[in-house]
C-alpha cells in the first residue's frame, strides 16, 4: 500500500460523505446539483487513487477508463437536472 | 550554461507567481488585485515556460510550451477585462 494511494483515497471517502450530506439536506436545487457533482468527484478520486502504482510506474488504465466514462455521464446528468430545475421554476411561477 | 539560465528563469518565474498571489491577497479592492494578478502571473508563467523549454532541449516541446503561454496570455488578459467590467457594471447598477 502506498501513502499517496491512502491519502487520496481517504480524501475521496471524505468528499463523498460531504457531498451526500448536502444532497440530502440542502433546500436549493442548484446546490444539490453542485453537491452531486462534488460527490461524483469523490468517487473518481477513490478510483484514481486505486489505479495509482507509485511514481514512474504506469498506473492501471481500467479505473481511468471508468472515471472518464463517469465524468461524461456526470455532465450529461447535470445538464438534464438543470433542464428539469428550469422547467420546474417556470411551472411554479406560472401558477 | 543553458542549465543555469534555465534554472534562473524558473526561479524568477516562481518569484513573479508568488508576487502576484501576495498582491491578490493583500491589495484592498478588485481593481488593484486585478492589476497585481494578471501582469505578474503571465510573466511568471512565461519565464517558467521559457525555462522548461530550455531545459527540455526539444523543439516540439518548446513550441507547445510557447503555445500554452500565448493561450494563457491572451485568455487571461481578456477574462480579466471582462471580470473587471462585470464588477464595474454591478457597482454602477446597484
Amino acid at each position: 500500500m502506498l501513502t499517496a494511494q491512502l491519502l487520496y483515497g481517504l480524501t475521496g471517502c471524505l468528499i463523498v460523505a460531504l457531498g451526500l450530506r448536502t444532497v440530502l439536506l440542502h433546500a436549493s436545487l442548484l446546490h444539490r446539483v453542485v453537491a452531486i457533482n462534488v460527490l461524483g468527484a469523490g468517487v473518481f478520486m477513490i478510483l484514481v487513487a486505486i489505479a495509482y502504482r507509485g511514481p514512474g510506474v504506469p498506473p492501471d488504465p481500467i479505473p481511468h477508463a471508468l472515471v472518464l466514462t463517469g465524468i461524461v455521464v456526470a455532465v450529461s446528468a447535470t445538464a438534464l437536472a438543470l433542464a428539469l430545475a428550469r422547467r420546474l421554476t417556470a411551472e411554479q411561477s406560472n401558477d | 550554461m543553458t542549465e543555469l539560465v534555465s534554472s534562473l528563469m524558473i526561479v524568477a518565474g516562481i518569484g513573479f507567481y508568488l508576487a502576484g498571489s501576495i498582491g491578490l491577497l493583500r491589495l484592498p479592492d478588485l481593481y488593484s488585485r486585478l492589476h497585481a494578478l494578471t501582469k505578474a502571473d503571465n510573466l511568471g508563467l512565461g519565464l517558467l515556460a521559457a525555462g522548461l523549454a530550455l531545459h527540455s532541449q526539444d523543439l516540439l516541446m518548446a513550441l507547445k510550451l510557447l503555445l500554452v503561454w500565448l493561450a494563457v496570455l491572451a485568455a487571461s488578459a481578456a477574462s480579466a477585462h471582462l471580470i473587471a467590467r462585470h464588477a464595474h457594471r454591478q457597482e454602477a447598477g446597484s
Partner: protein, 87 residues
C-alpha cells in the same frame, strides 16, 4: 535540476494556496472569479512542471486545455442575456 523542480513545484503550490484563500474570502463574486483565474494559471504552471517527469509529456496538453477552458468559464461568468421581450 530535480531539487530545483521540487522547489518550483513547492513555490507554485504556495501561490495556488494563497489564491485559494482569496477564493474562500471573496468578498464579491468578481474577486472569487479572479482568484479562480489565478488558481487556473498556477495549475497550468504546475502541470507544465509535472510534464517534465518521464512519460508525462501529455500534461502539456492538459495545461493547454485548462488555459483555454478557464477563458470559457470567465466568459460564461460575464455573459449578459438579452432581455426576454415576450414576458
Amino acid at each position: 535540476m530535480s531539487e530545483l523542480l521540487s522547489v518550483a513545484v513547492g513555490g507554485l503550490m504556495l501561490s495556488l494556496f494563497l489564491g485559494l484563500l482569496r477564493v474562500l474570502r471573496g468578498p464579491e463574486a468578481g474577486d472569487r472569479m479572479l482568484a479562480t483565474q489565478l488558481i487556473g494559471t498556477a495549475g497550468v504552471g504546475l502541470l507544465l512542471l509535472l510534464s517534465v517527469l518521464p512519460e508525462q509529456q501529455a500534461l502539456i496538453d492538459v495545461a493547454l486545455i485548462l488555459a483555454l477552458l478557464a477563458a470559457v468559464a470567465a466568459a460564461a461568468f460575464t455573459g449578459q442575456q438579452r432581455e426576454r421581450r415576450d414576458d
